[in-house]
């Protein structure tokens, strides 16, 4: 079942030119879907349309069976959590603990239950040791982890990441990606991640590739990354293993287009042993 269904969506910031041009795609419940495309392709605009932060010119967005419109906005938003790129724009509390508590307080969660929810979610993003720190003394990555904990505390059905890991260090990215994977595997949480991280794309279930406001490619990462020509036209980054495959092709060596480095290393070993 699709938890998110986007159909014939159109949107423009100005009178001329379409930012979102007749976009349709769906996200299956429990899936981990990534949206890719270079800057200005309309990725973030789609996230804002889904959240009801922008109003589409035409088309429909259905979340958990509920059509997005002004009447249903509160219902829709209670089902979605979003983590934005810049943590400084979403840190509200005086301390880490207060920040995670903010959403819970707004939703009138019993104070007696709050501590447990806060502690559990802080532990998930490895911020338990920083509960009483002020945000100004946290680095960008730490703040972002707090933002994720705050959103997780609201128990959304659909969790959207809008380039949320782009400010984290490689270890931080890995930790967050592991958290995402864990949530995705162990709960019914659906993940929709807008990202430039090509390794994250390779590890997701389903990819939606955007270019100039249009959906250009959809499919599993393995399927999408086989579309050499289209990927080049879109100037989309590709996994390192495919860059090697492309270079080898120029040298007259044809290899299986594995999207992971492990796969490519095995493929190269296989070719070598056949010598």
């Amino acid at each position: 079942m699709a938890i998110l269904e986007v159909k014939d969506l159109n949107f423009s910031y100005e009178e001329e030119g379409k930012t979102i041009d007749n976009v349709s795609f769906s996200v299956e419940e429990g899936s981990y879907t990534t949206i890719v495309g270079h800057n200005g392709s309309g990725k973030s605009t789609i996230a804002k349309l889904i959240m009801g932060l922008l109003e589409s010119a035409s088309g429909t967005i259905t979340i958990d069976g509920i059509a997005l419109n002004n009447e249903n906005l509160a219902k829709i938003r209670s089902r979605i959590g979003i983590v934005f790129q810049n943590p400084d724009n979403q840190f509200i509390g005086a301390t880490v603990r207060d920040d995670i508590a903010f959403g819970l307080e707004n939703h009138c969660v019993e104070p007696s239950m709050m501590d447990e929810i806060i502690d559990t979610n802080a532990a998930l993003v490895k911020m338990s040791d920083f509960m009483d720190q002020e945000p100004t003394h946290l680095s960008g990555g730490q703040k972002q982890r707090v933002a994720i904990a705050g959103v997780l505390a609201m128990k959304p059905k659909l969790l959207i990441f809008d380039e949320a890991t782009s400010m984290l260090d490689p270890d931080g990215k890995d930790e967050i990606k592991k958290v995402i994977m864990k949530l995705h595997k162990e709960s019914s949480l659906t993940i929709l991640s807008i990202t430039h991280d090509i390794d994250e794309v390779a590890s997701s279930d389903y990819v939606v590739a955007l270019d100039q406001g249009k959906v250009v490619l959809t499919g599993t990462p393995q399927e999408v990354f086989q579309q050499e020509k289209k990927l080049k036209e879109m100037k989309l980054d590709i996994p390192f293993s495919l860059k090697i495959a492309d270079e080898l092709k120029k040298r007259g060596v044809t290899v299986d287009r594995c999207i992971t480095m492990e796969g490519m290393v095995n493929e190269l070993c296989r070719l070598r042993s056949k010598m």
Binding site: H38, N39, G40, Q85, N86, D132, Q133, E134, H137, L138, S139, G140, G141, Q142, E163, S166, M167, L168, D169, P170, D171, G172, H196, I198, K235, L236, D237, F240, S241, K243, I244, E247, L248, K250, R251, G252, V253, M261, E262, M264, V265, N266, L268, C269, L271, R272, M275
Partner: protein, 283 residues
């Protein structure tokens, strides 16, 4: 000794419950004219370190030598304005600092503050914008009309307009798409190699460090763990991992292939050389 840290420590909110020591006894000498990457995990003190370079932060202990000045702990720092003209610091997400009506005015703001007249400031702004890769057709537009990548170019042009000797960049490519990242790095490389500016760059992107930087400084928990050439540092992937740095793709690929019986020479350092080598091995 153009840029050096001597026993430098820095503690945030000293004497309060929020006290946090970000730098611990840093000793470091940056080579002039090089492109140096400051790397390390989130919270390791990278941003705190570079903010000492134009005295936005002052040391609690030790001395920061920067160009011909000494900034000593406990002493009132002098002539900071001139220093800030010579050491250009570009913060994380500098595009949030754009504020003027037009792009040209925004970039001219810095030189004007440093005593240039209108004409000179505009001239410098135009040069800086061109250098940063902004076409003249944009100059009279509002900064708000630009894309994220373009805004960042304008913000960087604002620093370049002051013609600093030292350029300090705090995560300059964070949040840019791959194409934007590549052109931004090409700009910094040009500033370093052709215009001979000393470039210091805080970054998490090891691909960029590997491809563009001469030297690497690794910070961990507010201390310098390693300072050396990028080439040498990345030739030892085990050492990288010990310092919690994930080596770049090509280094990891070489490592994995070697573990499985390939014997790739150390002289293979880029993708083309690796492809040449593999092609020879499997063809």
């Amino acid at each position: 000794m153009p840029i050096a840290f001597e026993n430098v420590s820095h503690t945030y909110s000293a004497g309060t419950p929020y006290e946090y020591q970000a730098l611990r006894n840093i000793n470091l000498e940056i080579t002039e004219g090089k492109m140096t990457a400051i790397i390390g995990q989130t919270g390791s003190g990278k941003s705190t370190l570079v903010q000492h370079l134009n005295a936005l932060l002052l040391p609690d202990a030790g001395i920061v030598h920067i160009l011909d000045r000494d900034i000593k702990a406990g002493e009132k720092a002098k002539k900071l304005k001139a220093l800030r003209g010579e050491v250009g610091l570009v913060f994380q997400f500098p595009e949030y600092q754009l504020f003027e009506e037009t792009i040209i005015k925004d970039v001219a703001f810095g030189p004007k503050n440093f005593g240039c007249n209108e004409e000179e400031a505009t001239k410098r702004a135009k040069e800086a914008l061109k250098l940063a890769g902004m076409d003249e057709s944009y100059f009279e537009k509002s900064p708000l009309e630009l894309s994220g990548g373009q805004k960042r170019r304008v913000a960087i042009a604002g620093i370049l307009a002051m013609d600093p000797k030292v350029l300090v960049l705090d995560e300059p490519t964070a949040g840019l798409d791959p194409a934007g990242t590549a052109s931004m790095m090409a700009l910094f490389s040009k500033l370093n190699k052709e215009m001979h500016k000393t470039v210091l760059m805080v970054t998490h992107d090891m691909e960029n460090v590997y491809t563009y930087c001469d030297d690497v400084v690794v910070l961990e928990k507010g201390q310098v763990k390693l300072h050396g050439t990028a080439r040498e540092f990345f030739s030892d992937p085990k050492k990288c991992r010990e310092l919690n740095i994930l080596p770049p793709y090509i280094v990891r690929m070489k490592e994995m292939l070697n573990e499985k019986g390939f014997d790739i020479p150390e002289s293979v350092v880029n993708m083309k050389e690796l492809a040449d080598y593999i092609a020879k091995e499997v063809k």
